[in-house]
Amino acid sequence: MNERIMNAAPEILELQKHFGKEIYHVEVRSDKRAVLTVNPAKITEFAEVLFKKLKLRFIIASAMETDAGFEILYHFSIDASGQILNLRVVLDRENPVIESLTVIFEAANWIEREMHEILGIQFRNHPNPEKLISEGNWAEGVYPYRRTEEKAKANPKHET
């Protein structure tokens, strides 16, 4: 496994050296793709090392609701080698809160606002937490990508 990580990306070793136990799990899916499950409380530090020190490009973040709770995958591109490093965090289902990365790079601004709108994840210290895609035409506190919304749709009794 270690050899495979080495082949996959030296950036992962660098992160392991830096953060050690804060990385819960490393999954190398191929030579070019790796997923690191990390401690959500340390996301700012991770992003800072990846963006400022290792100079990776932030592609986008994907949020979803799974059995584990709310998951966010931050996709970073290592353009020099064509690899994609995915930082995965799992947030609590009842209280999904994570630190905003917009203070580190502007590219996170819109996607964090969007993730808040579709799934209701809170981004702490976001400098501009306005609505992005549903300004003035969507109910407060209704998050369309949540599973509870799907269930409400499937069962007309719950329709509001």
Binding site: F58, S77, G82, I84, E106, I111
Partner: protein
Amino acid sequence: MSKIIPIGPYHPLQEEPELFKLYCEGEIVKDIKWETGYNHRGIEKLSESKTFDQVFFLVERVCGICSTSHPFAFANCMEEIAGIEITNRTKYIRSVIGELERIHSHLLWLGLAGHFLGYNTVFMWVWKYREPVLDLFEMITGNRNSYAMFKIGGVRRDIPNDKIPAIQEVLRGLKKKLDMLVGAVMDDPVIHARTKGVGVLTREDVIDYAAVGPTARASGVDIDVRRDDPYAAYPLVSWKVITAKEGDVFAKVEVRLLEMYESVSIIEQCLEGLKKEKEGDIEIPVDEIPAGMGTGRAEAPRGEVFHFVMTDGSNFPVRHKIRAPSYVNIATFKKSCIGQTISDATISLAAVDPCYCCTERMAYAYDAATGKKLLNGSELVRLSQAKTDEIRKKMI
């Protein structure tokens, strides 16, 4: 007097309805606010209710101009999940389609940019030269746009070898027209005056906003997914990534113009490659998509398209995230437009190529204090064109 100039929600600068509010003091743009969601189609959510084969037709409709870039990225993504290596013939066909699309998209943009600057002849000529490319698409795929060519493990139609000479013929004609266009743009002092030093995006801004495609390459950020994370036939042919340093509108024009030459060269090499491969060898049978996740990328005319798919072994994606290049490129307006005059804002906004919308509606500028109508969208274009006229007259 402080005033707000809205561009949109419907405006020919934009592919989708969206609203830019330019906060102006006098002639100078002081701040920009962006609103969208007027036409949020919920494609990511819709994708979860489609089978993988159907998703291709869905994502093809994310963008009307670069309609093959999303299926391209999605195919790359699904093939990564399923661990499929496609045949060489498929690779060549995919690259031919991808590059033809880049040519027609860049030509379309060039025409629009000409229009905004008051060069309506450029607009009409360029769109005329774009037609043969669309005719080629009709010949190869059956459609001028939304080609429905891609599927997991292959393409739906072959490019028979007897059609290759007709494609080469069109490319030869196109190269002559490109020479003429490049000459006309590079030698015109008015275009230089209108676009040099205008809408400058620095290298630092590009990195901070994670901009992609020609927008990034014109600011000296040397990224191109076709080279960095090779897919399809791009590693099999020789070509180079075009970059410029200045980051202004002119640099973006230059990058796009020169990229079209590279695209022509890539297609020519791919066609030679096609001749060596067996006809009809265009697909790998796919039985099952295993549970897992994958990321796929493709270099669209506007930059990197990114798809993330999570599967659970069923026929449908569990989660499908799509990041179009304009999502990161549009945000850079904040850097490129603030401090510019209103007459330069139009071309600065258009320079990142946010496509255009088929439906033009009226947009007015309101005096922030009195609510009085000041300018509308077409007057903004007229203002931009008038500035070019002024410069031209001074030069004569």
